[in-house]
């Protein structure tokens, strides 16, 4: 039975009610309690630092060489907060409503309201840390607008908002390292969760420098290990982003929710060739000034600057006049795919659309555009060799943010007691689609303002519980299974590299569980994935040994991706409606808009692992809307 533990009371009072009643741990007792935090992005670093400030002992893990490299670093555009600094009608409720609607009414009201409520305080905290947000000449904070909303509530630090927020969190974390409250384990990857008496009590981590398997014990485990969009191989995520931490927790009993809700970001650079390793994101903020279009004539190969105005189709402005180029990501991505599939795609591979700044440059001057976006234009030129001040950018949708992840209750605890999931690793808050500039927000709010209440509430009950040790048979068993898997990879006598399998699973998902899905394609995909899994088991080749070996690291991640991909297809197949990022071809209006089915699918799909070669079991968490009316999501 799923219990989301939503507190009593009116929406606006729920979080305060929770905080007022949450159990506390006496400061003198906090040093007796240990917490493992996996991941050092915005959610992980902020959670580790916040709990350490309170006096708990923290073990922090990341697979990068430094906590500062977590992929939060790459988020560019901004972070939302309902400050109403622009006096343009923003409020906590409006932000809550935009987010609920943006997520296509597939998220929990209470969680989303809390997100909006805590947003203002995040800006205060980040400013106090020294995050150099954009300022007006008078010294006050500046902000701008993002997709899916009609107010300016996005705070930004040029095109590096994620990096600057992460540096703030990382510096806060290292401050606790220097105070001895956090022990950092860089270049360590969590490979198994350890459960003792039904509670999360530790992890098995592999030291990526030496290959040694290590046992780490704690009173609670926090997974803040990010999203799994890299399952598509070509995605906007960092190369190392993976699903292993959450997937291994899933196989130990934690439910996975909304796994097929994968956002395709509309403004990525298009794929240009077969050996490409990733797609680079251009910030959504560019859509504030850039106009999106394709040639009206299919297969039009003329230079874009020579195509006259009347032969251009500004399809977002045409289809969604009230939001125009700032239509939400799922709508914009799908509209781009529709035009590309109809033969209007541009660029060498005909897989792109134009993002054009010529009107903005004419109206505001090149200097103004430069001041806003120069680093993005410079990055674009580095990658493509094209000067976007002179001709339109080529952009295309790409796999980006995962709204799915470990199922968590209002306390951010998974279905395993003592195991928490924060940030992109959990499924919460975004529903079936994430609005721009809400990911940095959710990650930070989870770590800075929510976990510091809910984790102690759990820990208070652990104070007098028997202390687990690394000599417990559960640790031995977990280590043994990790060792067995690593040995299997090293002894596999195949001929194919890890990248071969990663590219295969990615291509398969793009085709059959990507921007649009259908029953037929998803059923095929499940069979294809089974075949790929069998091939992976016998055809893999890992060179090198069990010391520092990036191929061996990748093998474990690919094994997890293959299983995760199968669950994604089950989830997409089961959800017979179109909502947010999930577009089932069978459920659309004659003009191609998504058709949601609230009568039958207004719930979160939480999946339970039932063992190898067994279909997963579905649990439904009904979504109850008390403060908003379910409405057809229109941006017209």
């Amino acid at each position: 039975m799923i219990d989301s533990k939503i507190p009593e009371g009116p929406l606006a009072d729920k979080w305060n009610n929770y905080k007022a009643k949450a159990k506390l741990v006496n400061p003198a007792n906090r040093k007796k309690l240990n917490v493992i935090v996996v991941g050092t992005g915005l959610a992980g670093a902020s959670c580790a630092a916040s709990l350490a400030e309170q006096g708990y002992n923290i073990q922090s893990f990341c697979f990068q060489d430094s906590a500062r490299r977590a992929h939060s670093v790459a988020a560019q555009g901004g972070v939302n907060a309902a400050k109403n600094y622009k006096n343009d009608g923003d409020s906590t409720f409006r932000m809550f409503y935009d987010t609920i609607k943006g997520g296509d009414f597939r998220s929990r009201e209470a969680n989303v309201y809390r997100l909006a409520e805590c947003s203002a305080h995040l800006i205060d905290h980040a400013v106090a840390q020294g995050v150099p947000f954009a300022r007006e000449y008078a010294g006050y904070l500046n902000n701008r607008s993002f997709g899916g909303v009609q107010v300016s509530r996005t705070f930004y630090a040029r095109g590096q908002t994620g990096q600057q927020l992460l540096l703030g969190a990382y510096q806060g974390l290292l401050r606790q390292v220097s105070l001895g409250k956090v022990t950092m384990h860089t270049r360590h990857e969590m490979l198994e969760l350890v459960i003792i008496d039904g509670k999360a009590k530790g992890i098995i981590a592999r030291n990526l420098e030496t290959g040694a398997l290590e046992r780490h014990v704690a009173d609670a485990v926090v997974l803040a290990s990010g999203g799994y969009g890299k399952v598509y191989y070509l995605s906007t995520l960092a190369m190392g982003c993976n699903s292993s931490a959450i997937w291994r927790a899933h196989k130990k009993g934690a439910y996975m929710a909304g796994v097929s809700w994968i956002q395709f970001h509309p403004t990525s650079l298009p794929q240009h060739g077969a050996n490409q390793s990733k797609l680079t994101l251009m910030s959504e903020s560019l859509r504030n000034d850039g106009r999106i279009w394709v040639p009206k004539k299919a297969e039009d190969a003329r230079n874009p600057n020579t195509i006259p105005e009347e032969e251009r189709d500004y399809y977002l402005e045409r289809r969604y006049p009230s939001f125009g180029n700032l239509a939400p990501r799922d709508i914009s991505s799908r509209a781009a795919k529709e035009r590309i599939d109809a033969g209007h795609g541009v660029g060498p591979m005909k897989n792109a659309i134009y993002l054009d700044f010529s009107d903005a440059i004419k109206a505001q001057g090149k200097n103004t555009i430069e001041a806003k976006y120069s680093n993005l234009f410079a990055m674009y030129e580095k990658i493509t060799g094209i000067n976007a001040y002179k001709e339109p950018m080529l952009i295309s949708p790409a796999a980006h943010f995962t709204m799915g992840g470990l199922w968590v209750d209002y306390e951010l605890m998974t279905s395993i007691p003592g195991l928490f999931a924060l940030g992109e690793a959990n499924f919460a808050d975004h529903g079936a689609n994430r609005l721009g500039a809400n990911s940095l927000l959710q990650a930070c709010v989870d770590g800075y303002f929510i976990a510091p209440y809910t984790i102690p509430n759990y820990l208070a009950g652990e104070l007098n519980a028997p202390k687990a040790t690394i000599d417990h048979p559960a640790f031995k068993e977990a280590e043994k299974s990790v060792r067995a898997q690593l040995d299997r990879f090293l002894n596999s006598k195949g001929t194919l590299s890890t990248d071969h399998f990663h590219k295969k699973i990615g291509r398969l998902l793009y085709e059959k569980c990507g921007l649009s899905r259908s029953k037929e394609k998803l059923e095929e995909a499940i069979e294809d994935i089974k075949a790929l899994k069998a091939s992976f088991e016998k055809d893999l080749l890992i060179t090198g040994d069990d010391t520092l070996n990036s191929e061996l690291e990748k093998a474990g991640r690919i094994a997890d991706y293959i299983e995760l991909a199968e669950l994604m297809c089950y989830d997409a197949l089961q959800r017979e409606e179109s909502c947010g990022a999930h577009f089932r071809e069978e459920y659309q209006t004659p003009d191609g808009e998504a058709v949601r089915n609230d009568d039958d699918f207004c719930y979160v799909s939480a999946w339970e692992w039932k063992g190898e070669a067994k279909p997963p079991e579905l649990h439904k968490e009904p979504l109850v809307f008390e403060s908003v009316e379910l409405a057809v999501r229109s941006y017209k």
């Binding site: 205060d124 905290h125 150099p132 990096q163 401050r175 050996n275 990658i383």
Partner: protein, 248 residues
């Protein structure tokens, strides 16, 4: 295009290491430098050889994890560009390319092109932060900061900690990295109270990690992918002097 590669191979920190020759064909000008290395590694796997280890993650020029010496230059021939954002259109058919790890006593080689940059974290942990704990921040607009100051602070905060400044410096000095953090925080009103403690502690930690002194040759500024100005080092020196003078 076809290229000859001379790549540093070293099995671990204690190994002496050596340059090894590789030939690679079918490199497209649109590939990034790291994608070219991926292609080479794929061919090594086919020959059942161990891959070349190199650090990288975001491949968007922002995580700071990639970085090698390419023909003797940190991150290769282009200005303000990380290795992951360097594309093969910067090379031509038949070129020979030398690829080596960033070298410094404080950056031991772990394997091949992978190095240990944890000394940078230690410098930050010694004081590279503002001591703000969660939950006590005042309203953000109660700390006005002029547009110019916020921008100047941002210019320094843009450092990605890749280590190119150290690798290119004849003294393996970390002055640009440390100076950038000092400048970022020293310009802001929030960091003022801790400013002197911060600079004294970070400079002392930088020395303890085994980085050399700055002798103002400006190589770091030239190779910095984020265009961090050497004025950051001047700012650090000024803050350091100020801290010493007013030290109680």
């Amino acid at each position: 295009m076809k290229l000859s590669l001379k790549i540093w191979r070293q099995s671990d920190t204690s190994d002496k290491g050596k340059m090894t020759d590789y030939e690679i064909d079918e490199v497209s000008e649109h590939m990034s430098f790291l994608e070219m290395l991926d292609l080479l590694n794929e061919s090594l796997i086919q020959k059942k050889e161990r891959v070349i280890e190199f650090d990288h993650d975001c491949r968007e020029g922002i995580c700071g994890q990639c970085g090698v010496m390419i023909n003797g230059r940190a991150h290769g021939p282009l200005k303000n560009t990380t290795t992951c954002q360097l594309h093969m259109r910067s090379f031509k058919d038949g070129d020979t390319i030398y690829i080596e790890p960033f070298r410094a006593k404080a950056f031991p080689v772990l394997r091949d092109l992978k190095i240990d940059r944890s000394a940078f974290d230690t410098i930050i942990a010694s004081g590279g932060f503002i001591g703000a704990s969660t939950g006590q921040a005042p309203e953000a607009n109660s700390i006005p900061i002029s547009y110019e100051t916020a921008e100047a602070s941002f210019d320094a905060a843009a450092c990605i900690g890749c280590g190119a400044c150290v690798a290119t410096c004849k003294n393996a000095s970390a002055a640009l990295f440390t100076g950038a953090k000092i400048t970022h925080l020293a310009l802001l009103p929030q960091g003022q109270i801790e400013a002197s403690k911060r600079v004294l502690s970070m400079v002392s930690q930088m020395d303890a990690e085994g980085f050399g002194n700055c002798s103002d040759t400006r190589a770091c500024e030239i190779e910095c992918p984020q265009g961090i100005s050497i004025l950051s080092i001047a700012k650090m020196n000024a803050e350091y002097t100020k801290a010493l003078i007013f030290k109680k």
